[in-house]
């Protein structure tokens, strides 16, 4: 780390990343934003932030590509370079927290892809020691489901679920990446019991999905930005493994608190375990 820089270590999904800057107000911002995910662990990776005045939050498409061994991550509001061998990278952006979130999400998606995990556009929560994931198109009910959760449910995220393989399946970790709920998830994890693709309907009902339909829906909701065939191959293999190990169902639900009775009572086995 260069002289004059200060760093905060942010540990999401058990992966500690040092975020360093020479701007004290930016350091305060990221400490506040990732409060609950700050860590004293030895960082596995380091990102150096150099702040610019230019740029606003951009609607441009994100470009993630590999040049030599280095990942280049670019959007209108930030430019980042990350070397997966040294574990170090640099980011040029303004002090916008949404740009910071985007860079972190992309970095984690690249790290996870190599480790057999992934980020999923899904809400997730822990119920009776097991994690449940809720995915679906925008408006399907991810935030609604988390809003309806009883008091003993631990929210991991209402927007971006963090998944890593464990010895016999997958674990879901809490993330600070919030959606409509505007609330950070809890910094904890649990083994995944099921992934539900949500649809609102007149009654609560759980339906099976074929394995290929499950993979298709899963791939549609995985956050991945790199145009890189080898990583896409790994991701597809991971999705197939996930489908083999985790029950995936369509959950049609009437939006009231009884949906959580359906979830508590769910005991599924993967279709192709």
């Amino acid at each position: 780390m260069a002289a004059g820089r200060q760093a905060a270590c942010v540990e999401i999904g058990g992966i500690p990343i040092a975020l360093s800057t020479n701007d004290e107000s930016f350091l305060d911002l990221l400490r506040q934003r990732y409060n609950g995910f700050l860590s004293s662990s030895l960082p596995e990776f380091e990102l150096e932030f150099d702040l610019t005045r230019a740029g606003i939050v951009s609607d441009d498409d994100i470009q993630v590509r590999r040049e030599g061994g280095v990942w280049l991550i670019e959007r209108g509001d930030f430019h980042a370079r990350w070397d997966p061998v040294t574990g170090r990278g640099t980011v040029r952006q303004n002090a916008n927290p949404y740009s910071l979130d985007s860079v972190l999400r992309i970095l984690h998606s690249l790290i996870l892809a190599e480790r057999g995990g992934f980020l999923l556009h899904a809400a997730s929560a822990i119920c009776d020691g097991r994690a449940y994931l809720f995915s679906g198109v925008s408006g399907a009910g991810k935030t609604t489901t988390t809003r309806l959760a009883p008091a003993d449910i631990t929210l991991l995220t209402d927007e971006i679920s963090y998944l890593r393989p464990n010895v016999d399946g997958y674990s879901a970790f809490g993330t600070p990446f919030a959606g409509e709920l505007a609330k950070s998830g809890e910094n904890c994890f649990a083994p995944v019991s099921a992934l539900f693709f949500l649809e609102k309907g007149p009654e609560n009902r759980v339906d099976e999905l074929t394995s290929t339909e499950a993979v298709r829906r899963l791939m549609r909701n995985i956050l991945f930005f790199a145009e890189d065939r080898s990583l896409v191959e790994k991701l597809l293999a991971t999705a197939c493994d996930f489908v083999a190990k985790v029950p995936i169902r369509r959950l049609t639900f009437y939006p009231d608190e009884r949906v959580w009775d359906e979830i508590r009572n769910f005991q599924g086995v993967p279709e192709h375990a």
Binding site: T210, S211, T212, V215, R216, M219, R220, F224, A226, E227, D228, R229, L231, V232, E233, L235, L236, A237, C240, V243, H272
Partner: protein
């Protein structure tokens, strides 16, 4: 070799995986995702760049599936055109280098 001979090869930009008898194909360039049925999977797997499509249909499709050869070829040409438009298959009237694993 007839002038209308079509050769097909899998693009180097795709990832593919078989599951439950179907082939799932993802284009890494734009993240489009396709699930191929058994007939389409047979054509996809035979797309080695140097076997003409007509021969693939005759040897792979008509031998494995109870289909009319002319109809099978017409369907295969449509399928190849669709996947070619999405960058999954490369099409040429000359032999091509095979680019991806089966």
């Amino acid at each position: 070799m007839p002038e209308d001979c079509i050769y097909i090869a899998r693009s180097s930009a795709i990832a593919a995986r078989a599951l439950a008898g179907e082939m799932m194909v993802m284009n890494s360039a734009d993240s489009t995702f396709f699930t191929l049925n058994q007939v389409a999977t047979a054509i996809f797997q035979a797309a080695d760049g140097h076997t003409p499509l007509r021969e693939i249909v005759r040897n792979q499709i008509c031998e494995q599936f109870d289909v009319d050869p002319e109809q099978a070829l017409a369907d295969a040409e449509q399928f190849v055109a669709d996947l070619s438009a999405h960058g999954i298959l490369l099409v040429s009237n000359q032999p091509l280098a095979a680019e991806t694993p089966r």
